[in-house]
């Protein structure tokens, strides 16, 4: 193959094609697709958020008040599926699409058409998934983990659920193959692996995890499908199978999945904290190795989701110790972020505030995770609100906060305008206070024995549930402010400079704000 390159379409070089549909439907531009991904994530954040509001409204007071219990179960299940596959993952993938090429000096992603396909598969999957809400028998209601035999009692929605998971899986696999290929093949000369921004590193490892475990989920739900319609016995003890086997296969996917939801957040925070501390990141290479270690450990800890299901003692011990090991590389990261801030000349713009809150609140979620890792005490915590509190601390104040931090951090680069700093701070403080009012009491509820996925509860849980619901409503409403700030920033505002932030380092800050439609058509040299 010759080394020459020809692309003679000048219209393609200088700006987006004319025409709304031609631009947004057929686009292979990483910035367009990044925007589409992020807007889709934002939309699903509100769809899933609306479901959360239903949950918190029902739990505001004891008793069956607003919705029927079956619908409540549909809400808990769909809330999880929508937030994971529709909210957090697309938002991170959108950030990856927009940022990775400009951070490594590439003109675009390695496989731009695959990129387009991967994005448009998402609405396809969600058409199927959300349509189940209107079907006889209702939407999936047995929990997002889809455990058999309960999930097999689902009505007409069952095959729609399975195929939606397949389509969303294909979407994330294709998106991730593209990300890995981009990072390994499209770096500018001089951009060695160990010079890459940590966001790129985090996504390289995340994408590897996605390519490794999404097919396993596809296999698991395929077995559910054949058990339901073709008489197979994978999860049926009468045929020599085992319903617990589903849980093993599911969590072999599921545990790496939760790190898929947090590793990009580590990358984002590792970009923001050094900027506003005006110091280089402390321990760059240890950050890389810690991320890789977390990814490796994620493959051998799935059993900690199943301590109460029944498992040989040796298995319990193995999964317990392996899980506790995860705290070591995670601790490395936390201390590195703290050391980066140490004696820095810090300022506290909105992205920095969200990042500091991330470090603090994610650590709370991480520590409750260590508590849950202990097999003997997990027998008490399992399936209680303690678990709900734990994973919402890592997912909301972890993943979602990092996404918000990233939006504020890079929004000037995307739009060319500074966002409204005052409103941003309002958004931060309202979110941070309300999210703690929302989730912190759930620790106490869980320790006191309140089970999760229950529409009604005993009277002694009333106060904490009411407090939690009030926090939830405030947190939900506050996010409307987030949308307003984004719209306001897109429409205008103070012009952003190329560098945007005083302490910003990296290739994306050498580009004008807003960055042109095509960047780095010839490779920059990285020293």
């Amino acid at each position: 193959m010759t080394a020459t390159t020809h692309d003679t379409h000048d219209d393609h070089h200088h700006g987006p094609p004319a025409g709304f549909f031609k631009r947004w439907l057929f686009t292979t531009n990483h910035k367009d697709l990044g925007v589409l991904y992020m807007l889709f994530g934002l939309l699903m954040f509100f769809v899933g958020g609306a479901m959360a509001m239903v949950i918190r409204a029902e739990l505001f007071q004891p008793g069956l008040n607003l919705v029927d219990p079956h619908f409540f179960n549909q809400m808990t299940t769909m809330h999880a599926l929508v937030m994971i596959f529709g909210g957090v993952m697309p938002a991170f993938t959108g950030l990856a699409n927009w940022l990775i090429p400009v951070q490594i000096g590439a003109p675009d992603m390695a496989l731009p058409r695959v990129n387009n396909w991967a994005f448009w598969l998402l609405p396809a999957g969600f058409v199927l998934l959300l349509a189940t809400l209107f079907m006889p028998g209702g939407a999936p209601a047995g929990g997002w983990t889809m455990y058999p035999p309960l999930v097999l009692q689902l009505g007409d929605a069952f095959p729609f659920l399975i195929f939606a998971v397949h389509i969303l899986g294909i979407s994330s696999i294709m998106g991730s193959i593209n990300i890995v290929a981009t990072i390994l093949n499209m770096r500018a000369p001089g951009m060695t692996l160990m010079k890459m921004p940590l966001f790129v590193w985090a996504w390289l490892i995340t994408a590897f995890l996605i390519v490794a475990v999404m097919p396993v989920l596809a296999g698991a739900v395929t077995m559910l499908l054949t058990d339901q319609y073709f008489g197979t016995s994978f999860f049926n003890a009468a045929g020599g199978g085992d319903p617990v086997m589903f849980q093993h296969i599911f969590w072999f996917f599921g545990h790496p999945e939760v790190y898929i939801l947090i590793l990009p957040a580590f990358g984002i925070v590792s970009a923001i904290i050094p900027t506003f501390a005006r110091k280089p990141l402390f321990g760059y290479s240890s950050m890389v190795y810690a991320t890789a270690s977390i990814a490796f450990l994620s493959f051998i800890v799935w059993g900690h989701h199943m301590f109460t299901v029944g498992m040989p003692l040796a298995g319990q011990l193995f999964f317990m110790y392996a899980t506790m090991l995860v705290a070591v590389p995670t601790g490395v990261k936390i201390f590195n972020w703290m050391a980066t801030m140490w004696q820095g000349s810090m300022t506290f713009e909105t992205p920095m505030l969200f990042s500091i809150a991330f470090v603090l609140l994610f650590t709370i979620g991480g520590l409750s995770g260590v508590m849950l890792a202990l097999a003997p005490v997990d027998l008490q915590y399992h399936d209680t609100y303690f678990v709900v509190a734990h994973f919402h601390y890592v997912l909301v104040t972890g993943a979602v906060f990092s996404i918000m931090a990233a939006v504020y951090f890079w929004l000037p680069k995307w739009t060319g305008h500074m966002y409204d700093e005052k409103l941003g701070k309002w958004h931060f403080w309202l979110s941070t206070i309300s999210v703690n009012v929302l989730f912190f009491p759930q620790h106490f509820l869980g320790l006191a024995g309140m089970p999760r996925r229950i529409p009604d509860y005993a009277l002694q849980f009333a106060e904490f549930n009411m407090i939690s619901s009030i926090g939830g409503f405030v947190f939900g409403l506050t996010q409307l402010l987030f949308v307003y700030i984004i719209i306001k920033c897109v429409r205008g505002g103070q012009k952003a400079t190329s560098e945007v932030w005083e302490g910003a380092r990296g290739l994306e800050w050498t580009l004008p704000s807003p960055a042109p439609y095509h960047t780095f058509e010839t490779p920059p040299v990285v020293k």
Partner: protein, 303 residues
Amino acid sequence: MPGHRSPPIRNQGDIRMSTQSKDAYFVPEDSRWPVFGIPGIVLLAIGLSVYLNGGSSGMPMIVIGALIIVIMTVMWFRDVIVESVTGKYNAQVDVSFRQGMAWFIFSEVMFFGAFFGALFYARVFSIPWLSGGDPETSRFLWESVTLAWPTAGPGFLDLDYTVMGAWGLPAINTMILLTSGVTLTIAHHAMKHNDRKKVIWGLAATVGLGFLFLSIQMYEYVYAYQELNLRMDTGIYGSLFYLLTGFHGVHVFLGALTLLVVLLRVMRGHFTAENHFGFEAAAWYWHFVDVVWLGLFIFVYVI
């Protein structure tokens, strides 16, 4: 194009927009085909769901959806082939394609991993536990049953079926697939030496052996259903047997189809001794399918 990473093209520090230069990156044009396929995928999924729920309108949706997906695939690849043979791609694009294919095959390996995992779990854990290895399980479910792989499970002890033997047709099929790997490698070497006639024969033999494998597999299924009473609902053994060999068969079909397209492209002279990644990608896939079969043959048929 050898498999190693080609050195990146150097350009001295110019990050301004340049129009055309030899050193520019290649960025493909936008394309309507990925989006064109999306309604097909939605239609196929809805059609399958309606069909499985017993609705009568499922089948037409499946057919139309599948048709749209086929059109998408053909047209998308057509664009790529045109761009490739008109020399638009540079060495970096080639590496991107290689990376894409390699990671795609890795994801396929993990997909099969789920089913092999189920096989090992059933054999190592669930069946021994059900037959007394775990006292609680056997006390509450089926007391004092003795199960040994291959089994249809404790609920189907009176089921009369025969296990598929390894050393008849399956062994022949193993030889067929292994031979197809050899013929494919012969074709690859011929490709590198510009011996087009030999490439065509090697590829034709590979595709032929692939379809022969599939025919024998189909015959084996009919035989299993009619003579052995070995069915998909024959407990965990039947489940694993049909899903593992079935998904493998689908992959053989897709691999053979891809090789067939490659064969047609060879006949049209699309490839050169240096530049034939389309061929290599199909070959990688074929070897992957071969390796999966070896695992299958050992763990499903022999042991």
